[in-house]
Structure formats: C-alpha cells, structure tokens
Symmetry: C2
C-alpha cells in the first residue's frame, strides 16, 4: 500500500467513534419504522429479520458518501435504512429452503425457521416495499427530486440487473466452471450492485455534486463491492461458523465457484488488496474533502474477520 493511502488513515478506534452515532441513529430509525402497525406476526418477522444484527455496512456507506458530499441528513438516514431493508429481505429469501436452505444467520435461527416459510416470504416482500416507502416521506424533509433519484438508484440496484439478477446467475452457476470474468459479473450484480448503490444513494443526498466526483464515488463503490465478495469467499474457507454467525464452508460444500476456488487463497488475497487500492485511488481522484470515513470503510471491508 502506498504512503499516500496510509497517511492519516483512521485507526479502528477513530472509525468506531465515527460510526457509533450513525449506527445508533440507524438502529433507532429502523426500530421506529420496521414492522410498526403490520398485522399479526408479519411485523414480528420483519423486525426479527432487520433489528439487532448485521454489520450495517450498507447504511454506513450511505452515511459516509453523504458526508463526503454534504448531503441532506434526513435523506441519508432514510436511504441508509432503505439499503439495509433490501439487504435484509434478500437474506430472508436467500435462506429459504428453495434457495440456500440455511438455518443459521447472524448466530440466530433464520426467519423461516423461526416464523415459517410463508411469513418469511411475506416479510421479505414487505421489507422491499418498505424500503421504497421510507424513501418517499410526505413530511417535506426530502425534496421530490432526491426522493425520485433515491428510488431509481435503489430499484436498479435491487432488481434483475442488480441483486436479484446476480442471485439468479449464482443459482444457475452451481457446479459450473465459471472463469474469472463470469464470476466477477455474477458478484458485480449479486453483492456489488447494492454496495455500489449505497454509495451512489449517499451521494444522491446532495444536489449539484460534480459529475467527476460522482463517477469517482461510483468507481469506489464498484471496487469495494467486489472486494467485499472476494473477502467473503476467503472467510467462507478460513473462518468458522461461530465467528461468521452463519454456516461456514457452505459455498465449497455446494460446489459453487468462488474466488478461492478460482485463484487459490493467496491469489484471492492479492485480488482483495488490489481492489482496495482501486477503491482508495478512486477516492483520491474524487476531489472531495471528507472521504476519510469512506477510506476507513474500504479498509474495514478488506480487513474484517466476519
């Protein structure tokens, strides 16, 4: 890593002191907004899926990107929660028996184990709708132009040319020998689209951001999204289920192509380092002043152990 990237780099404590208040705001907002007035156990299932768990990486990316462009804080909080709802719904559906059939998530029984398949399905569906409802408040706190842009970015990140499309490729690729370009395309959609979308949504909380800065933030999000998946593949091999809070080794067991199966463990680690460099370089050329949090989050993504 070059000196320019490490100079002034936030340590873990500095990142924690930045993220702490943001995480508290996101948790409080999610608790206020998720599953309230929902009928019968649907609301319980929605809250179980969302609250008290997860790294909240997507909300932190939204918050950090919004800070970098001096975005509207009310818009950023809603966008942060919306990205987490989409992420949470995707996990609920991904864990269903007809998909990964997983029983453990964040150290707890998965939603369908706890509430039954039908309510898990509906909770996921309702969480996706709620994401768009959060983005379109009628209280005057977010301009219609920002609301519309946030909905557009989230819909594209979540849909058939984003997350859902990536999951479909993933499903179809079990047992197939993908090359690196195909694997990259799958992950660009499956995980990358929503991570990159989170960065773009944060940037969309301000109007009149310079196009070059937006393009740089998009490139940062793209590199970070891929880095996240490469590290995920590494952790699937190197970590245990207790640390991960989910079933380790399941990709290999399912004969799914991964960066580790394709590049080996050392090759995957080198790939993660290179993507980190790309992300940091994009921030350098963004011309934005307050990118420390985005830089620290990129390091966190690559250095994490779960």
């Amino acid at each position: 890593m070059s000196a320019v990237h490490t100079a002034g780099r936030w340590d873990a404590q500095r990142l924690a002191s930045w993220s702490g208040p943001h995480l508290a705001n996101v948790e409080a907002a999610l608790s206020n907004w998720v599953g309230i007035d929902a009928p019968v156990q649907l609301g319980d299932a929605m809250r179980y899926a969302v609250l008290d768990g997860g790294k909240r990486l997507r909300p932190l990316l939204v918050m950090a990107a919004s800070e970098a462009v001096q975005g509207n804080a009310a818009a950023a909080l809603r966008a942060a929660c919306a990205t987490e709802l989409i992420h949470a719904y995707s996990l609920v559906h991904d864990d269903l028996p007809c998909m990964d059939n997983d029983v453990l998530r964040r150290g707890k029984p998965t939603v369908h184990v706890q509430f039954g398949e039908a309510d898990a399905l509906l909770a996921g569906d309702a969480l996706q709708a709620l994401a768009f409802e959060l983005l379109t408040p009628d209280d005057g706190s977010v301009t219609p132009a920002v609301q519309a842009l946030l909905c557009r970015l989230l819909a594209r990140a979540a849909g058939s040319q984003g997350m859902a499309g990536g999951q479909a490729i993933d499903l179809a690729s079990v047992g197939l020998a993908l090359d690196q370009a195909q694997l990259r395309e799958m992950h660009r959609l499956k995980t990358g689209a929503l991570l990159q979308g989170s960065v773009e949504m944060g940037a969309a909380c301000a109007q009149d951001v310079a196009p070059a800065a937006l393009a740089a933030l998009r490139a940062y999000g793209s590199a970070l999204g891929l880095a996240f998946q490469v590290v995920d593949d590494i952790l699937d091999v190197t970590a245990d289920s207790l640390t991960l809070g989910k079933t380790a080794g399941k990709d290999a067991a399912a004969d799914k192509p991964t960066y580790v199966s394709l590049l080996g463990l050392d090759g995957a680690r080198a790939q993660a380092s290179q993507l980190l460099e790309e992300a940091l370089a994009a921030l350098e050329r963004s011309g934005l002043a307050d990118t420390e949090a985005l830089r620290a989050l990129a390091h966190m993504v690559v250095d994490r152990d779960r």
Copy 2:
C-alpha cells in the same frame, strides 16, 4: 340501481373500444420493459409471469383515473405497468408451495411449476423492484414530484399495511371464524389496497387535482376493491376452473373464510351490488367530468364471470 347511474352507461362494446387501445399500449410497454437484459432464465420467468395473461384491471383503473383528471399520459402508462407488476409478483409468490401451492394460473402452469421455486421467488422479487424502476425514469417524461408520489402510493399499497399485510392476515385466518369486519379488513389490505392504489396513482398523474375529487376517487377505489373481492368469493363457488383459469373452490377447500361462507350466496351478491352503488356514488360527487370509464370498470368488476 338509480336512474342517474344507468343514464349514459357504457355498454360492453363501448368499454371495449375504450380499453382496447389502452390494453395494447400496456401490453407493448410491458413487453418492452419486463425481463429485458435480465440474466439467464430470470428474464424468461419474469416475462412468463406478466405477459399474455390477466385482465389488466389495475392498469385500466390507472388509465381511467388518469383520464378523469387529465393526467400525464407517460406517467399513467408507467404507473399502469407498475401496478400490474406488483399484482403479477404477488400471484407468483402466492402460488408457491409454502403459500397456496397452486399449479394452475390463467390456464397455464404457475411460474414455479414452469421454472422452479427458486427462480419463481427471484422473479417475484425482481418484478417488485422493476415496478419502482418503471416509476422513476430519467428521460424527463415524468416530473420528480409525480415520480415520488407514485412511488409512495405504490409502496404503501404493496407493503405490510397493504397487500403483503393482507396476505399475512389471510394466512393466519385459515380455519378461524372471522366476523364481517375482520374479513373486510383482511380484504381491504389484501386486494383492496392495490386496486385503490391504482386509482390513486392514476389521479396522481396530474398535479393540482382538487382535494375533494381525490377523496372521492379514493372512496371509489375502496368500494371497488371490496366489491372485487366479494365477487371473487362468489366466483370461487359458482364458476368452474376452466372459466376462471385457476383452481375453483380452493378457498372453501382450504377452509378459508369468505363472503359467501359468511353471508351466503345471495347475501354476498347483495353486498357486491351495494359496493357498486357506493363506488358509483363516489364518482358522482367527485365533480370530475370524464368518469365514464371508471363507472364502466366498476360495473365490469361486479358483472364479470371470471
């Protein structure tokens, strides 16, 4: 029915000549927008779920309501398609084995029978996202204010206090003895929210509509939504599977409470007539000039045989 309501009422031919061009536009737009550039068989599953089937009642309600307020035609077409995508996704998920486990829909095998459960799940998820993507074009054809309002209305209609919430109540009510108020609340959410939402979205395609007219259109949508469900319950008993294009008698077989089980066949028919009167009366008091299509659609909903 009072004379004022029947005077000048469109016959079936007049309704068909109004709806024909709208249906052609909606079909063409859906064919252009659904599943395009989606990976592998996800796009096929999405198109199978949406194209070449269905009464397109929700799109027609959007179009008719938009006409009544002289709404933006580009916005109305997108809103029309978006309501149909939400409806279509709900059918795909509702047919899954963990829900109604139905194998026949619109006279064809259901999506999970044709494409497998995992792709059916993902297709439904992607269709919901696509609905919001359609509402937020970046081509300048729809103002940001209308985009934001359409997203808000659709998200509320689809979510835990709308369609998904109603499905959860439906699920929890199998074998229970609901009274009429509880049954009405379930259907107000499960089917009514999206039908009413379709009318409201049509009305949202114009700005500066008088609040009294909007309230009247909401009341029309609410009455029509309930009428639709009452007639659905009647048809579940009186029609055969071939005419319905789906499995008849399944509610009774599943021991689900229905208007027929609660009110008897004659009572349910009287209820449908009363709701039709309510819907037509709301149009009368809307003060809007061009409500003929909305009136004809209300009659169609109550008089239909499938």
